[in-house]
Symmetry: C2
Subunit: 216 residues, 2 copies
DNA sequence: GAAGAAACTGTACGATCGTTCGCACAGTAA
DNA sequence: TTACTGTGCGAACGATCGTACAGTTTCTTC
């Protein structure tokens, strides 16, 4: 989605990109815990070999940093969840793989504060601006991807004909998010098993083959 | 839960309580949108006939204000969801009434930013301190209440024997929260119907009488 | 009455925030 | 070489935050 500067190697930009990446690696971790508004140029700079105004310059200001953090988090999410799930065949198997990878992603704390997007979605729920738009776009991409493979599963007869894929995607994301939240708020690791059981239940109720859902 | 000063009428305390209530009415609305950390003594004071340091004095500081806001939000939630649901008989009917009342509470925007507790739970997910403890306590109270009436429903034979009430409560809260989040983030009002359909489905799968769930 | 408690005001303080500006340095392009 | 661009630093800015403190007013208690 982001054009990762496929331009010829420019020593200055390379240096800048390395600095940006270092800042963003820290920023997404911070933001997953406290949110994007709580990000502070000074706090980031204090833990990096970069000046406070240096960060402001690299991203053009705080909002630029926030937007870059969202994009960086997307890349991390794709690498942790979407790409590994491509091992599984499109359709039901892929859908289930995404669910499994997502629970792992949350449980492993790829982001220190649990799912980065959960935090920032709630944070920008009721706000306007470019950051909110970016967060919404990321959310839509993810749910669209779920819906697509739910739809493929229906077409392939892996799920009952007439299955409401929007409803199914709604229920799946609800369970995943609830597991993430419960794990963070209550420190209860059992919620992941609950979420998986619920998703398995809702898939089997729509005719999914239990053997596919058992596969690790 | 809070001892609402049952002490004899003291003119000074009455005045203070009136001021506190005015501040809290505004504070919970703000916090439901931006979170408890984003609350600002100055911003509140500017919209009220109270001085900035007056607010600080009334609550003993910002943390005191945050704790009082959580308690105030609990009272509002109880009045909007828990008390109305007492019309319904304990057990399955009560459980379903709570679900209906909750979706109304979220849709009606009793709090401008959707469910107050959703916002602050995510905000204090990964923090320590008195505010987090209060948020967790409120969360436990709510889910305990759901579990209690789920258990009563099982005992009364309204739900299948052997029903895992923890699992059921997990799924119900997951759907409700997902509806709240979806409504806020995407502006899609249809998510409430989705949540109700999902809860109805999971209850009927456990043997609930559809007639009870149809009752408005 | 006097004494004291609680509700406020007004002011000031130190800290921290994001932004801006001038400047030095490194690398590219002519 | 010269001109230009991107990175990065250091200092200062105005704004805003929570808190503290002294003082005034209102009400209760003794």
């Amino acid at each position: 989605m982001t054009t990762e500067t496929p331009l010829p190697a420019d020593g200055r930009r390379l240096r800048g990109d390395r600095s940006r990446r270092a800042v963003l690696d820290l920023a997404v971790q911070d933001a997953s815990v406290r949110g994007l508004e709580a990000l502070t140029l000074g706090s980031l700079a204090a833990r990096l070999p970069v000046n406070k105004s240096g960060i402001a310059g690299l991203f053009g200001g705080k909002e630029g940093l926030q937007l870059a953090a969202v994009e960086h988090a997307r890349a991390i999410f794709v690498e942790a969840v979407v790409l590994p799930a491509r091992e599984a065949a499109p359709g039901l198997a892929r859908l289930w793989a995404l669910v499994r990878r997502w629970t792992d992603y949350s449980r492993r704390r790829v982001f220190a504060g649990g799912c980065f997007f959960r935090t920032v979605e709630v944070e920008f729920d009721t706000q306007d601006g470019a950051v909110r738009d970016a967060v919404v776009a990321a959310h839509r991409d993810w749910t669209s991807y779920l819906r697509r493979h739910a739809g493929l599963a229906v077409e392939a007869g892996e799920l009952a004909a007439g299955t409401d894929v929007d409803q199914l995607a709604f229920e799946i994301t609800a369970m995943l998010n609830a597991a993430n939240d419960g794990s963070l708020l209550l420190g209860d690791d059992g919620v992941y098993a609950r979420a998986l059981a619920a998703v398995r239940g809702t898939l089997e109720a729509r005719g999914a083959d239990p053997a596919v859902l058992a596969a690790r």
